[in-house]
Amino acid sequence: MQSDIVGIIDQIVQWFGSLDPEILDAVPRYLAALVLLAVLIAISRWQGLGVGKRLIVGTVRGTAQILLMAVILVTIFALRDLVVIFIVLAFMALFAAHTTSENLDHIPGVFRVSLPAILIASQCVMAVAVVLGVVVPIGEYIIPMGGMVIGNCMTLSSLVIDRMWSNAQKQRPLLETALALGASPAQATRLTIIESIKAGLLPNLNRYASLGIVSIPGLMSGMIIGGANPVRAALFQVIVFIMIFLAVTITGFIVSRLFLSEMFNERMQLTVPPPT
């Protein structure tokens, strides 16, 4: 019995010793961060914030989820297969469209219009970036950069749909005036669409303008932490911004055009109900 336990411990120690030195370096740091979490939970209990349980569950669940993702990524990276990498991006786009539709569950057809928009924009921009040699054609680059592109497409998609819907409710008389003058749905909503896309670009344009002065954005921070040369990291940060701007703009035009079919019928009648 005792020898069995010793054997298991020995196996664990051996497995642990076989891990990548980078993982071995991160594990004690993760454990040390749990001390900070304990301090946070103590403050929560002391001040009655009531978030202690959620923090514990969130940490356990979040760690499991992200480790699972990391293991999947390791496997995908090892395959060195661009098709698989782009299938992973497609799944991410699928999940982004699902998230958009959950956030806007009071609006019909959100998943139906946001999925093709996010999928087409992100896949096209990433594919062109790979073909032009802008992005290193390996998963380590394509998936994180694609993730940023898809995340921004998701945000823009939500913004455009939400604005088009709420404007159709709030500015119904103006919209119907446009239709009554013979405007097509696309003409009647043109200004709303342009304003929505501009509003969606604005946060990133602000970050773009303040690059390196106010903040060091995510990709550059990650690359520097990962040991990359800061100059290389800076150039990739600008690259990813350009890719985001392009993908977001494409998403905006596709999603707005597709969403018109949810707002108007084939007789060019507004089908959005008045606000309740």
């Binding site: 008389p173 103006l174 119907e176 005036t177 446009a178 239709l179 009554a180 003058l181 013979g182 405007a183 097509s184 003409q187 200004l191 007789r267 060019m268 009648q269 507004l270």
Partner: protein, 231 residues
């Protein structure tokens, strides 16, 4: 005045409209010819504005037929139909920009344009001077907006103007100006004008015929006697 043998600009036959399965009106008939001002009266909530929106196919009736020049409106391209019959809502909405921008808005959606003289002419039709062209549309008074909305529609050379209570927010003096405007337009363009009004005095004074839409028709679908042309 009915032109013999020529289909009316607008005709509604046995039109009914329900909202949430509750009848708003039933068995409604209407005929609008060129060179006439037809009044549409009725109490609040009887569906007068809805009649106008049905006419330009902004909403579809529950039952019945709507014809423009003898052709069902459903057979028109909606954009063409709405160019032929211009609906001016009760509260005229102005697009952002100047009066000039607003006058050109309707033309641009049809791929058309207008010369400076044509814009001035359209304003002259509604008794507004050239100086209005560069005023910010959102700063105009209610009556001025109403007249700009009429001018904006007239530039599209429609066959009919459908006006939803164009004078409801105006004082007596401004009301008379708008009425004069509409008469002048009729004489010059030979179009049909359908005007919704809850003001019986205005209907008597201003229109050549009156069609009434009243609450009885909403409640009793078989009583359609008061729905017809009353004069």
């Amino acid at each position: 005045m009915t032109t013999m043998g020529t289909p009316p600009v607008l005709e509604m036959r046995d039109v009914s409209m329900c909202f949430d399965e509750r009848p708003l009106f039933e068995g409604f008939n209407l005929r609008l010819d060129r060179d006439e001002i037809l009044g549409l009266t009725g109490p609040s909530g009887s569906g007068k504005s809805t009649v106008l929106r049905i006419a330009v196919d902004l909403v579809s009736p529950t039952t019945g037929t709507v014809l423009c020049h003898g052709v069902p409106v459903t057979e028109y391209d909606p954009r063409e139909l709405r160019r032929r019959m211009i609906l001016v809502p009760q509260r005229a909405s102005m697009f952002s920009g100047t009066v000039r921008d607003n006058l050109l808005w309707g033309l641009r959606v049809h791929g058309l344009s207008a010369t400076e003289d044509e814009l001035v002419g359209a304003l002259d039709n509604v008794f507004l001077g050239r100086e209005f062209l560069d005023k910010v549309a959102g700063n105009l008074s209610g009556g001025e907006m109403q007249r700009v909305a009429i001018a904006r529609g007239l530039l599209l050379k429609p066959d009919a103007l459908l006006l939803d209570e164009p004078t409801s927010a105006l004082d007596h003096e401004a009301t008379l100006v708008v009425e004069d405007t509409i008469r002048a337009v009729l004489e010059e363009r030979h179009i049909g004008v359908l005007i919704v009004t809850h003001n019986r005095e205005q209907a008597r004074r201003f229109t050549s015929r009156v069609v009434e839409l009243n609450n009885n028709n909403r409640k009793d679908s078989e009583d359609s006697s008061s729905m017809g042309v009353s004069q």
